[in-house]
Symmetry: D4
Subunit: 210 residues, 8 copies
Amino acid sequence: MNAKYKKLNKDDAALLLVDHQSGLISLVQDFSPSDFKNNVIALADIGKFFQLPTILTTSFDEGPNGPLVPEILERFPDAPFIHRPGQINAWDNEDFVKAVKATGRRQLIIAGVVTDVCVAFPTLSALEEGYDVFVVTDASGTFNLTTQQSAWNRMSQAGAQLVNWFAVACELQRDWRNDMEGLATLLSNHLPNYRNLMTSYSRLQQARNK
Amino acid sequence: MNAKYKKLNKDDAALLLVDHQSGLISLVQDFSPSDFKNNVIALADIGKFFQLPTILTTSFDEGPNGPLVPEILERFPDAPFIHRPGQINAWDNEDFVKAVKATGRRQLIIAGVVTDVCVAFPTLSALEEGYDVFVVTDASGTFNLTTQQSAWNRMSQAGAQLVNWFAVACELQRDWRNDMEGLATLLSNHLPNYRNLMTSYSRLQQARNK
Amino acid sequence: MNAKYKKLNKDDAALLLVDHQSGLISLVQDFSPSDFKNNVIALADIGKFFQLPTILTTSFDEGPNGPLVPEILERFPDAPFIHRPGQINAWDNEDFVKAVKATGRRQLIIAGVVTDVCVAFPTLSALEEGYDVFVVTDASGTFNLTTQQSAWNRMSQAGAQLVNWFAVACELQRDWRNDMEGLATLLSNHLPNYRNLMTSYSRLQQARNK
Amino acid sequence: MNAKYKKLNKDDAALLLVDHQSGLISLVQDFSPSDFKNNVIALADIGKFFQLPTILTTSFDEGPNGPLVPEILERFPDAPFIHRPGQINAWDNEDFVKAVKATGRRQLIIAGVVTDVCVAFPTLSALEEGYDVFVVTDASGTFNLTTQQSAWNRMSQAGAQLVNWFAVACELQRDWRNDMEGLATLLSNHLPNYRNLMTSYSRLQQARNK
Amino acid sequence: MNAKYKKLNKDDAALLLVDHQSGLISLVQDFSPSDFKNNVIALADIGKFFQLPTILTTSFDEGPNGPLVPEILERFPDAPFIHRPGQINAWDNEDFVKAVKATGRRQLIIAGVVTDVCVAFPTLSALEEGYDVFVVTDASGTFNLTTQQSAWNRMSQAGAQLVNWFAVACELQRDWRNDMEGLATLLSNHLPNYRNLMTSYSRLQQARNK
Amino acid sequence: MNAKYKKLNKDDAALLLVDHQSGLISLVQDFSPSDFKNNVIALADIGKFFQLPTILTTSFDEGPNGPLVPEILERFPDAPFIHRPGQINAWDNEDFVKAVKATGRRQLIIAGVVTDVCVAFPTLSALEEGYDVFVVTDASGTFNLTTQQSAWNRMSQAGAQLVNWFAVACELQRDWRNDMEGLATLLSNHLPNYRNLMTSYSRLQQARNK
Amino acid sequence: MNAKYKKLNKDDAALLLVDHQSGLISLVQDFSPSDFKNNVIALADIGKFFQLPTILTTSFDEGPNGPLVPEILERFPDAPFIHRPGQINAWDNEDFVKAVKATGRRQLIIAGVVTDVCVAFPTLSALEEGYDVFVVTDASGTFNLTTQQSAWNRMSQAGAQLVNWFAVACELQRDWRNDMEGLATLLSNHLPNYRNLMTSYSRLQQARNK
Amino acid sequence: MNAKYKKLNKDDAALLLVDHQSGLISLVQDFSPSDFKNNVIALADIGKFFQLPTILTTSFDEGPNGPLVPEILERFPDAPFIHRPGQINAWDNEDFVKAVKATGRRQLIIAGVVTDVCVAFPTLSALEEGYDVFVVTDASGTFNLTTQQSAWNRMSQAGAQLVNWFAVACELQRDWRNDMEGLATLLSNHLPNYRNLMTSYSRLQQARNK
């Protein structure tokens, strides 16, 4: 018997961005820094584009972990932002869970640093409470591939779906016609080769229209 | 309790080729371009050799995504070819689903670009509707290995079988004696080292027969 | 609920070596040739050391696929050796299945070339019939890592256990005291660094005994 | 239906360190020696920091396998230390199982050398007996990636959770406030880049306080 | 006898950007698209920051090669821009060589797509004419690592210096005090982890100043 | 002092294809089989397109090394074809050297299997006799990367230039206008992503002309 | 004509450690953090063991670059420590060059972060002034392999020798008998597998002496 | 001006095997153990086959470094075997240099463990004294690729030629006809895929002769 397709729905999804802090990100070595930055901002842009309820959280952002990176903060100035006083698992923080529940959403899109802790722990907690969890693998970073693969395995075996930001965008969009220009801009900003396709195409369209 | 062997059957399988378009293929970086081209054409040749009902589909082929690559089109000039006006998931397009249902087949062999979207979405939809889905991993391409692995995991966890084109050919053929020369030609065209074995063998056979 | 430990038992296991033919092995690119040769012979030596009922089979060994490599044949001169006239899946060959059943064993240790076809197909067939199947991943080779990973996934999802030859040897042996010298010789022949440990140790023992 | 979150609990977890012997470690090639040493000692320090009941075991430590590495022994001078006379699977040794049961713990954190045997076998045994097993992937080493991946797959499919030492530390700690300085020291000793964050931070704090 | 240090000098260097066109860039597979885009723009920003005479050139930008990517064009609206009518080696185009000579500079910083042709050919030509050539390896892309390594070797053996954009920036700058904020902004825009260091530092400075 | 640019010249270059035999090619593991086949045929097509004097040679093609692959033979039915009776270094065969000299060319483009012997030996011999030698790295294959890198180093240090087939084609062509369609066809046949650019472009041109 | 062997001599060598600062090290991605830390400290220990004149320098250690890592500082409390006020190339700082000259040594062993700038620039400067320069490749880190390889090439082509810390130690030591225990301790502390050899050996020696 | 071809000559070459000791080999991680063992024995077999004067040497073979591996010793029971009492560089040992000089050979083929010390030091010494040195890269092992590449660079820049064992065998042999069966046996023993070619060929020859 095959599985039911648990499909992302922009009216039932919330975005959780966990501990993308300037200090912690310097620990990430399973992506190149430019790739990782691009992926994280792409995911943030998705949240904004689809107007997903978004929740921010950090751990000890006054200390060596550093503050939330400004690229995220400036995209969600009004989002609930939970500064955890000590809980490692964001789900152990009451305010965080309240904020999640306040969204009324049952699908949680989650990414963070580091994958094996800051992402995996709330993922496992939310799964246990019956949420559908979508872990954005390419916007979540950790120490090395061994650690990455272990964390992916643990979350997947518990029922989380592993997705990349591009799949998230496309699954939320469903149909290009819902906002063709908006999606094109989003992809163009974060997929350089897609932008190249569009650049070539536009040039030829211009030539055609002369 | 072990699983039942869901075995490909040439009388119950259909082939779905999704979005192998000239623009989109330039986004693929999890295979070398020559390997990927070889794999995709090998799969198309399999469809032709076993006379599988085959369905073609593209997304915005007038725009930057580009047209279906000619190597596919020329192999299936009479196949249903659904030009989707906007649906990202081919399964969201009624004509596509109708074409699938019209084949009467319950086993779907699917490949496309990019793996995490154009392949994964219809795979998950078809699984939900009870089809057996065979994802051809080496004829499906995407942005990088992180994306590839996430997509494979999601589809596999939902019940899809991950296969490569060579396994598809062999499972459909069952027995070399069903058409020895036909299969040999197929393999020779797409497995250079198998062709080398045949070249060496033929030479020796010729020598023997002198 | 955790799984029962399906543990290899030398009185209930049979060894199936499928299509390790001189032509087909030249297609293997997911291992270096020396590593692969070492692994295959190590597995054959395990079969001999534990006196496992062993079944050999080849596909078209008169043609370009080439004959079974002599290292295997000379270790099992009296084993049932099924030259398949055309069936790709060894399990589709009645003689092969009869030979398997004649062993009376319920645990099948299987390796072969190529992993995605010659190993995967009989593995899936045997699982369906209720056998416990142990796929020896490092004595089975194929075209590339994409193909390898797809095949591993398919077999694992169907219930096969993925093991390496060293784990097979150790699980069959259970306790070094069952035949310390025999196992040590086996490991020494196929694990160069283990042999090095023994060389250093022996030298020191000799010095001590002077 | 999603899985229950089987969460490490410092009052219900025991640590099993299996065969980290000077000879056997020289067989490990899936980690660089420095990374592996760091990971193993980190895990040992976790055991000490959380005062986990810890059990040590070795196989033939008078012979070429070599003695337990001193870094582990000196951290657990009073731990039960089972010198197995021949059993390959530590769980086949009565004293070992007794020692495990004597802890009264139901969560077993296990690491060792080599992953596919010394870790996998007791893991599968313990799972069968209903324990929750947490395999520490980065403190367990083996011959190569093929062997590593096969072993991870086998254990994961049987119900073990794959974790890395950092995730173990964080899941046991739950909240930084339980012992902020203790955890910080642990991380600082084994995550060079985390130490770097702390070094930079301290310098700036000192400057501030001048 | 050691070599003289041929050091980049902002008063003697010119920047040559060759064929960074939207079509050609889609052929690049020795960098991830995000890394490559970041590197190319970083180099362009260096040209602007140090006010280097900069020359742009493209090959058939009306055809499938596509136009120069807009990120470059908008940074150098007034730079000489040679649209080559057919010469593959930019140095074979008189206007290009005239533009180079018009700068009066003897140090040429060059990057382009693809490395083995569009970069290597003018590099070898310029070396022959006695220029010092600095090939920016990470802002030049090609088909694969074999191609990249061959091209690097050919240029290096002929006397070119292989440098990365960060080394170019630092060698031109000589001393941070020449424009501390300018260089910091440049690095911050293109080295995400350097930006993280600055983010953490600024936060702590702010805290200090409260 | 910089090097003179030793530039390929279609009127001074000859092509030497050494031991691309069906048996020997099965030893190649530093390229995927499809990539290698594509590269070798691309180089042969270059020879034909530029009408380079071409010399074929094989070693023991009646034995296990196998015959020259038919793709090469059919492109050069009239080329001198030296079947060496035993000399490993083609340059030790008088007929081969005579054939080279008969071309009157001073630039030798060479590729073959295996790189470290069949390519390296005649390369070193020809260099010694004052020829300019261009080793086509991606149309020459060998056992593994260690072997490849050693051979590249040895040849490069002796004065050979390392080039890839695409660079050879472009350096011989000099200017697209010499035969735009011919070069485009050559590239289109062997660079799948370049073909994709052309496919997209043609489609848009057609649309424009409607 | 072969090269003279420029051999490290403990009476003619000085050690330069450049910019191993807590912030800058977090930019290093061409080594795992544990490997890099181990290599850097090993090199520092070499400096101490052979009592090499050692010079420390940092760049802006009050700012985001962070202070020199304490492991280095505590090993050389009395070494000249040049806090550069802005010069990127340490050799542009008069105090640094004076300190180098004050050692009277003509062989410079250099390592630092990042390789392409903080190591390469003073290396090229020192070579120009006639020093023999030994770049310690594994104690110098940078952004990625492209950057690393470019920097190695540039320095090597200018006459620097690329060495690893182990080679440095052995070349300075010349003969184990100069201080057997000292060297053994050094190696044991930084080569975990060498320590394992010693652990096994000691155990056997102890057993022998009983 | 191109280089003279310094070609191996079996009447002018000697083989130096340095420190292939059971303990030291366990430090090698730049080859898989099976590949490395195969390469080392292949080189030893070459020495025997071509009756090259061969010199063995070890460092502290009574201690943790361990004895020379028996596979080498048994092939050269009568070779000069220098047990160095402490010199790290074999060339610093008078007996070793005397033994080299006693051969009267000017070409030195050298391999050993570890590459960066035990191979590099005598290589650099011998080059300085005017010998032609051939470093067998695949029969020399070290800690990791960084170390390997540094050592290769240093030796190559000083004038050593980097070769692999297969190239050594072929260059010494010159012509298959000098001893066809002997060379075939050598290759068959150490190149599994070459052996496969021969197995397939023999089978077909047998069939032909029936």
